[in-house]
């Protein structure tokens, strides 16, 4: 089900996971998982705890390498590419436990995200060539734009640790967006958010998708997932047990079993 561009030509999937396996010591976290994320879609990764969702995310972002299998992003294989290099080619992520840059204010946190889109080095910083000043101005403008987009512009000069929790999550997303990604990987973005904030999150995620960025989110909040996801992949014990639209997943027997533990026979 590939998306099509304006002249009807099928767009290649932005992310392809092919038979990826990963073990830690004796524990097999992932065993031969495969799926594709089409360009410009929202893909959700769900499953019980320990299913391997975060491991999969970490493989894509480069925290460690897969034991076997391929991960292909925008046509090139990612194996061997360091984590920070992947950000430069368009893979951004947020963390389950928010890691703010506590010593900086909100705006500067987002500006860190602009790191890969700017070039000022040691010499440039000390000499302040005119190009540098311009680059800095543009980066600031973009950062403020993103804060506005996430609805937390008012807090731009607050210390990041002073933000209420919900706003910290939005800051994290703004920061990740600042890297100019093609795909944004979100690890439980709704965790800790109340109903109002979750609704706002859904709106924001749709707007991000609308701007052309693909999304892959790990989530436990089923309402959110069923609401915004185009396709859902269900993992259990490191293996993909179902993939499809929210409708299809909700009716899928093995998914129900995985979550509720009911015996397949006689369900």
């Amino acid at each position: 089900m590939a998306k099509r561009n304006s002249v009807g030509k099928a767009l290649p999937p932005v992310l392809k996971i092919e038979s990826v396996s990963k073990s830690f010591g004796g524990i097999k976290a992932l065993g031969g998982v495969s799926f594709e994320i089409p360009s410009g879609g929202i893909h959700a990764l769900i499953g019980p705890n320990g299913a391997g969702k975060t491991t999969l995310l970490n493989l894509v972002t480069g925290a460690f390498s897969a034991d076997s299998g391929r991960i292909v992003f925008g046509g090139s294989e990612l194996r061997g590419m360091k984590a920070h290099e992947r950000v430069a080619i368009g893979i951004a992520r947020t963390f389950q436990n928010i890691e703010m840059f506590g010593s900086m204010n909100v705006l500067d946190n987002v500006l860190v995200g602009r790191h890969v889109k700017t070039r000022c080095g040691f010499l440039g910083a000390m000499a302040r060539f005119p190009g540098i000043a311009r680059e800095e101005k543009q980066a600031r403008a973009r950062a403020l734009e993103l804060l506005d987009f996430m609805g937390i512009l008012d807090a731009a000069y607050w210390r990041s640790c002073d933000l209420p929790f919900g706003w910290q999550r939005f800051l994290e997303i703004a920061r990740a967006l600042a890297t100019g990604p093609k795909i944004l990987l979100l690890d439980e973005p709704a965790s800790g958010l109340n109903a109002v904030e979750t609704a706002k999150l859904a709106v924001l995620l749709r707007r991000i998708r609308h701007s052309g960025i693909s999304l892959l989110l790990i989530e436990h909040d089923m309402n959110l997932v069923m609401d915004i996801a185009d396709r859902i992949l269900v993992l259990n014990h490191g293996v993909a047990i179902a993939e499809g639209t929210p409708r299809e997943i909700q009716a899928n027997e093995s998914v129900i079993c995985a979550y509720l533990g009911r015996d397949l026979v006689g369900a």
């Binding site: 984590a83 860190v112 910083a125 008012d154």
Partner: protein, 317 residues
């Protein structure tokens, strides 16, 4: 703006004071400030540690000493050589070490500092061994002789001012933000696309470079150097300077340097209790005020501005 204050103060001291002792003292404060500033960039901003920075100080001093005394190089050429050599050595040390965690980095830099000290002591053909190196010439800038205490004071403080200026610019830039990010959370910094390994090496090299320049200035000031100056105690002293001044901004380095240069002079009996004082200072500050190293060194002034501010108001200057 604030630089004018330093320049003014230094000039006033230089021309106003006539006691060679005081002039010398203020010059030493300057040299120590340069050292502390470099180490502050590494420890305070990037969140790393070096327990062997005396080695780079010594490397700068001995390189210029050896080249000017044994090979009769011009001091300024020797400076260039000292810088190049230090950059290479710092690079080689940092590359493997900075991948390790805090403890190992501490031990590694400690070990390196020890090795450097052994080299200074043992390579007597070049360094004069334990007896030291004598006869290091004074400097001159073209026609202007810098051998007088006053002129040397002005030189040192000109260099210090320059580096404070450059460091402030560095902190308030993309690189500065990246450094603070690495300090706050290396994992998150990496997820923002920052090559944390490379950045840490770069800042280590910068801080080593500044120590080497301080060494150069020191050597040509005192004209006699010996290995005893560049030992572990000195490295600890530098760390103490950074820790004391850590709470304020870059200017904290000046504070720390001033305190630890003046204290031994002010307290005659200090020499006996020097180590006890350093030890206690380090322990107490780490227990009571570790945020000096954690809060990313905000200007005390700036920080109070923040916390007093109501969240909905305000813009940054």
């Amino acid at each position: 703006m604030r630089y004018l204050i330093i320049i003014a103060a230094a000039t006033a001291a230089g021309f106003g004071l006539s006691s060679p002792y005081l002039l010398q003292l203020i010059t030493f404060i300057g040299i120590n400030t340069l050292l502390a500033l470099g180490l502050n960039m590494l420890m305070g901003y990037a969140g790393q540690i070096s327990l062997g920075h005396a080695a780079f100080f010594g490397l700068g001093a001995y390189t210029t000493g050896v080249l000017t005394v044994h090979y009769h190089w011009s001091p300024w050429a020797a400076l260039a050589a000292a810088i190049i050599l230090t950059v290479i050595v710092a690079f080689l040390i940092a590359l493997p070490l900075l991948q390790l965690s805090g403890f190992y980095l501490g031990m590694g830099t400690l070990g390196f500092g020890m090795i450097a000290n052994v080299v200074f002591r043992q390579w007597s053909a070049l360094t004069g061994g334990d007896s030291g190196l004598v006869g290091i010439p004074s400097l001159d800038l073209g026609p202007v002789s810098l051998s007088s205490s006053r002129n040397y004071l002005l030189l040192v403080w000109a260099v210090v001012t320059l580096f404070i200026f450059l460091c402030e610019r560095l902190i308030d830039s993309r690189i500065g933000r990246a450094l603070k990010a690495v300090h706050d959370s290396e994992r998150a910094a990496s997820s923002m696309g920052i090559d944390t390994g490379r950045l840490k090496v770069q800042i280590f090299v910068l801080s080593a470079l500044m120590a080497a320049i301080a060494g150069f200035l020191y050597a040509h000031f005192v004209s006699f150097i010996s290995p005893g100056t560049f030992d572990f105690i000195f490295s600890v002293r530098l760390v103490t300077m950074v820790v004391i001044g850590g709470m304020a901004s870059i200017w904290g380095s000046l504070l720390g340097a001033a305190v630890l240069t003046l204290l031994p002079e002010a307290l005659g009996f200090f020499a006996q209790y020097e180590m006890i004082v350093y030890g206690l200072v380090l322990i107490v500050i780490m227990i009571v005020l570790p945020q000096g190293l954690f809060r990313g060194i905000q200007d005390i002034y700036g920080q109070t501005k923040f916390s007093g501010q109501s969240p909905s108001a305000g813009s940054k200057d």
